[in-house]
Structures are given as C-alpha cells and as structure tokens.
Assembly symmetry: C2
Homo-oligomer: 156 residues x 2
DNA sequence: AGATATTAGTACGAAGTTCGAAGTAAATCA
DNA sequence: TGATTTACTTCGAACTTCGTACTAATATCT
C-alpha cells in the first residue's frame, strides 16, 4: 500500500486534468497550440488580462508570458491592446477561436470532474474541491492582484 | 469571490509545494540541480528505480528520463547500474548526496504540510490528503507498474 | 513642477526541457 | 529458431524559460 505523498498526489491529479483537457483540444483539431501556451491562455479573463497578471497566474516570468502571448496572438488565440487604465500595460483578450477552445477544454474538464465524483463519491468530491479552493485562496498571489480567473475558461 | 476552478487550485497547490521544496534545497547549497531533474530524482525508490518507471512516474518520455538521469549521474545525485533481473533495463539508485537533499526537501515539505494543516484545520487537512491519495491511486499508471515511491523522498 | 524611483512590458541570448524518429541489445513469443 | 516486443540510447529539432539590459509610462518625493 502506498502511503500518502501529498506532492505526488497533487502532481498526478494536476497533470491528469491538464493533459486530458489539452488532448481533447488537440483532438478537436486545434493542434496549433502548445501546453505552455494553453496554461497562459486559460488564465485570461473574459474581459482581458494584463501580461503581468498572466505571468503571475501561470507562474512564469514576464518574459515568458510576453513570448507565449505573442505566439498566441500569431495563431489567433489572443488579441492584445494597450490597457486604457495604464498605457504601459497591455491587455490580452480572448478571440472567437480561443472561446471555442475554452468550451472544448471546459467540456473535457467537466467529464473528468464527473469521473472523479463517481470515483470518490459526491461528499468526498465536494470536500476536495472546496478544500483545494480554500487552499488556493490562501496561497495564490494572483488573487491579491485583484482579477478573477474566468469561470468558464478552463485550463487545458 | 472566486469560484472553485479545480484545475487552477490543483496547479497552484502543486507548484507551491514543488517550488518551495526546490528553493529550500537550493538555499541549502544544492544549486546544481534543476526542477526537471528534481522531479525525476524524487521518484527514485530507496532500492532503485528503472528508467522507464521513472519516466512514467514523472510523466515524461523515456528519452527525457534518460537525459535527466544522465545529468543527475554527472552531478552525483544518482548512480546507474544494469538491472540484474533484466539486463536491458537500468536501475537508478540514490547516492549519499541525494539522500541528504531528500531530507532537506522532506523537511521543507513537512513545514508546508504543517502550515496547510493550520490553515485548513486538522480534519479538513486529513481529508484532503486522504482524498488526493485515493484519487492518485485510481489514476496513476505508475502504480500499476508495481514499485512504490519512497515515503521519505519528497518531491522538490 | 521637476527629479527620482518604480512598474509594465520588450529584446536578446543562452541554458534547459521535451520528444519524434530511428537504432541496438536483451527478453519473450510462436 | 525466427519474429516480435521491450528497455534504453542517440540525434536533432522545436519549445520553454529566464537573466540581463533596455524603453516607456506612472508614481513618489522634495
């Protein structure tokens, strides 16, 4: 019997969700996106997100975020415009294409969540989601920045 | 109020644990190891692990595992020897150096776990660990291979 | 206001990561 | 024994990441 190793448990669950959502997107014909790009894309708010916020949310450097966003713009998943509130900043916004992709990813995540609920039982599952959310709220620096991640936009 | 997004919650918690353990190791003077290497290293059993198993456990390709293990051998974190049971296979084994590093990482993880327990309360925390472990057990293909990850060796 | 410091993002380049394709050797199957 | 599978390696190309250094805009201080 393997005894609980929190780090590995978290790692496996995270990768599983991420990879399956990503695979679903690729299987739907969106092969022109990478996992790293998807991680950034999935953090973009419905009303647009600043590059620095995306970097923080995806836990990469600003340079990396800039780079990935540029690629996402090039392949039509994002548009970028100056932030009216601060002309140093740039707002990345979703496109029709990325909203479609987000729906596909979201659907797959919903399937996974359903499976996990079956697996664990409703009570345990709800507990898990709630507790993880509490944990995230306490930990994530992105939350202190103010913007909320889009509900419907799932990670790929 | 942010509503629960399971993927992001999992991502944040995983990265937090991983990064803090890794930082603790680096701060202790072990700067000659990378995060990708550490992910593989942390999956090595006390009695040695085969490369293919490591690849599966770390969720990378065999080529990547081969590459990272070679680097870890070069910097003294692993030794590799042919598996007596199957001469095609190679067993990666921990060294004194990596056992020290594992202790450092483990200590930091223990600190994090303590913090999380305080944060969530003992009951919720225990629930979380147990549920995640159940989930992992059901999901992780590595488990079907047979070898158990080392308890004391934490992920970095 | 004017000087200074901070913040948002960019550019460049080097190092690290990842994996497909193709290959070798050992074990297993028929 | 011959055919197939499995474990790992090699090579090469694409992707990811970030340190250093830079520009522009905003915030702060006097």
């Amino acid at each position: 019997m393997t005894q609980p190793n929190l780090g590995i448990s978290l790692f496996v669950a995270t990768r599983e969700l991420e990879q399956r959502a990503f695979n679903a997107v690729a299987a739907a014909g969106y092969g022109d996106i990478t996992l790293a790009q998807a991680r950034v894309l999935s953090r973009v708010n419905d009303d647009g997100s600043r590059l620095g916020d995306l970097a923080e949310a995806a836990r990469v450097s600003k340079q990396t975020a800039t780079h990935l966003v540029a690629e996402l713009v090039a392949s039509g998943y994002l548009t970028v415009e100056p932030d009216p509130a601060d002309r140093r900043a740039k707002l990345a916004k979703l496109t029709k294409k990325s909203r479609t992709v987000a729906k596909i990813a979201g659907a797959e995540v919903a399937r996974i969540e359903h499976q996990w609920r079956e697996l664990l039982g409703p009570a345990q599952y709800e507990q898990l989601v709630d507790t993880l959310h509490d944990l995230r709220t306490a930990i994530d620096p992105y939350l202190s920045v103010g913007s909320q991640p889009t509900p419907s936009v799932a990670r790929k």
